[in-house]
């Protein structure tokens, strides 16, 4: 199945709806968390919706992604349901990981998503290994490996990327550069902050893309997927984006300068894409309002069900340790 042409109205509205779903999901989760009804901690991705949606829209259902502690958007983009994710966040046995994963380890292998790897860069060698399996098995799948700018400083980045390079593995290395590793700005921890430059030093192609432009991301991801499927992987995509919320639950982002925040907020991926859609002539404000209403209803119903979902039996504590 080829992705529909980008001028396909339904496809574009689908991208928009998926981004709105992520935004509204995250906003609702934040509310539930502050309200005190949701346990645990959260790392959210408001403002980064275009990276997840643009990349995952370029993948086939049989392709895999690996993610990080900030994985809600990736999960929704890869096709996990609102319900299985909300149930997981409420620690319910009906969650995508039976309540054993939680926010940071969201995943569902049937939908091509490995539970989030919450150790920075820990998913990079893992994704390379998955890609090695595909290569050894002569299967056509690819892996998209999401990580942040902070991961580039880890040894695991170097080791995993180098092996992906020497064996031409079908892995798309997706760096969501949101300018901050937790609270530390990227230019304080790397002399060359152009992360895509690193690809050349390993002998493969990298490119930097406007990560708040979902179509630009999608096109770059399609190119990368085609190269990887053709045996010419890996590819490094640096997607420039910005996190609208704190690193984790109680972070007020005082380290993000006001003018920087405003500049990025004016380039919000959802607002920009909505404006582009409205320019087309065949998409109306009412169409977008209907999408928003549909998403809100979906999440609202999901929250009600998740709050009432069955919790794990205590006997499940010791299940699923060994196969």
């Amino acid at each position: 199945m080829n992705a529909p042409a980008k001028d396909d109205r339904e496809f574009l509205l689908g991208l928009h709806e998926r981004m709105v779903l992520i935004r509204e999901f995250e906003d609702r989760v934040k509310f539930l968390f502050l309200e005190g009804t949701m346990p645990g901690t959260i790392h959210q991705c408001q403002g980064q919706e275009a990276t997840a949606v643009g990349v995952c829209a370029a993948l086939e259902p049989g392709d895999f992604i690996t993610s990080t502690f900030r994985g809600h958007g990736h999960a929704l983009a890869k096709g996990l349901t609102v319900q299985e994710m909300l149930d997981e966040l409420f620690g319910a046995r009906t969650g995508c990981c039976k309540g054993k994963g939680g926010s940071m380890h969201m995943g569902n292998m049937d939908k091509g998503m490995v539970p989030g790897i919450a150790i920075v860069a820990g998913g990079i060698p893992l994704a390379a290994g998955m890609a090695l399996a595909f290569k050894l098995q002569r299967r056509p799948q690819v892996v998209a490996c999401f990580f942040g700018d902070g991961a580039v400083a880890e040894g695991a980045f170097h080791e995993g990327v180098n092996m992906a390079a020497i064996w031409n593995l079908p892995v798309i290395l997706v760096c969501e550069n949101n300018l901050y590793g937790a609270s530390t700005r990227v230019d304080k921890v790397m002399r060359n902050p152009r992360i895509s430059d690193r690809a050349a030093s390993y002998g493969f192609r990298g490119e930097t893309v406007d990560g708040n432009d979902v179509l630009a991301v999608h096109e770059a991801a399609q190119r990368a997927v085609a190269e990887c499927r053709g045996g010419n992987g890996p590819v490094l995509l640096e997607l420039l984006t910005y996190r609208r919320t704190g690193h984790s639950r109680r972070d007020a982002c005082h380290y993000q300068p006001k003018d920087e925040r405003e500049a990025w907020f004016s380039r919000d991926p959802i607002d920009r894409f909505a404006a582009k859609l409205l320019e087309r002539g065949d998409v109306s404000a009412a169409d977008l309002a209907a999408i928003k209403a549909r998403v809100d209803a979906q999440i609202g119903a999901g929250v009600e069900r998740a709050k009432a979902a069955a919790l794990p039996a205590l006997s499940e504590l010791t299940e699923d340790v060994f196969a």
Partner: protein, 338 residues
């Protein structure tokens, strides 16, 4: 039936598993280089020619190739990873402990990680960083199985069982037991050869082995210490003390059924461990014995282990570090008479 050492038995076991199942492959440093060594201890020598493309040499990147093995295992492969020296497992521990061991649990049972991590351990004249007994660091990690082999028969049978197991298995080998010849021979090596059957066999990953029956004291050991305990039993027998020797072999889970049966018979137990006494496997076994069959003990549990120091280089000091036959004999004698 043929007589083989551990390195040869492992090599045959790996080759047979690779022939049986195309999902099995080996990954590690210097394991398949033409004209090379076949791994630091010759275990994979010649396999690269036999299985083109399936003996994968990696950069010197232990964390990286361990993560690669975990990811490949998640996608249906059955990697046998080769850690050149056990000490390097610290570099790989994030992938082993945070990913391999937890992936099944975190995913609510969706994922299997059928991989084997082979690692040589033991003090062998190489100073502090190519010498540690690493098994202690992994027995407390839920999701990992840990075995430590001391004979060629077990090496082959447990390797095969580990490859066929759907869980990550830490597979510890001792450098003085490989029986490698020529340039890779180790001074001070101990004979661990076995008669190896021609037919396919496996040795379970969760059973200890009674190596010698006795009545007065139970001595537990694994790897090199299982051999030293047997040698000690011979000397003790000459003095009229019959020691029962158990090769613990499975370090996680520990086979308290076999151990308990012995202790209920002897009432006395000595645990021998190469490695610092504090925080070792012996401490865990001692606590487990108290819980499983403590009421059968006629005397307090005794441990013979290394001093709480890094492994020293000077042969005089290294010999003092490593528990030896005289120390085992002395401790067992005292225990038997207590």
């Amino acid at each position: 039936m043929k007589r083989q050492g551990i390195a040869e038995a492992l090599r045959d076991g790996i080759a047979e598993e690779m022939t049986r199942d195309p999902a099995v492959f080996c990954i590690g440093e210097d394991i398949g280089v033409p004209g090379g060594w076949g791994g630091a201890f010759t275990v994979t020598l010649g396999l690269a020619e036999k299985f083109p493309g399936r003996i994968i040499d990696t950069p010197i990147a232990e964390l990286g190739f361990t993560g690669i093995a975990v990811g490949a295992a998640m996608m249906g492969m059955r990697p046998i990873a080769d850690m050149q020296y056990g000490d390097f497992l610290f570099l790989a521990s994030d992938q082993l402990i945070n990913n391999a061991a937890k992936m099944r649990y975190m995913s609510g049972g969706m994922i299997k990680v059928p991989m084997v991590m082979r690692a040589p351990v033991g003090a062998t004249g190489r100073g502090s960083q190519h010498a540690q007994s690493m098994e202690r660091y992994f027995i407390g990690v839920p999701g990992l199985k840990v075995v430590a082999i001391s004979t060629a028969y077990d090496a082959k049978g447990m390797l095969k069982a580990a490859v066929r197991d759907d869980n990550p298995v830490m597979f510890f080998e001792h450098k003085l037991l490989y029986g490698s010849k020529g340039a890779r021979a180790e001074p001070g090596a101990v004979d661990a050869t076995s008669d190896i059957p021609e037919e396919d066999y496996v040795v379970p990953l969760d059973r200890a082995a009674v190596r010698r029956e006795g009545t007065e004291v139970t001595i537990l050991g694994w790897l090199l210490m299982a051999h030293f305990a047997l040698a000690a039993a011979k000397e003790l027998s000459a003095e009229g003390i019959e020691a029962e020797i158990i090769d613990v072999r499975s370090l996680s889970p520990i086979d308290y059924e076999t151990i308990g049966a012995s202790i209920r018979k002897t009432g006395r137990v000595l645990i021998v461990e190469e490695g610092p006494k504090t925080g070792g496997v012996a401490a865990e076994i001692a606590a487990g014995i108290m819980e499983h069959c403590g009421e059968s003990l006629l005397a307090p549990i005794v441990r013979v282990a290394s001093a709480d120091v890094p492994v020293p280089f000077s042969p005089v000091l290294e010999n003092a570090y490593r528990p030896d036959v005289p120390r085992i004999v002395e401790a067992a004698r005292r225990l038997a008479r207590s």
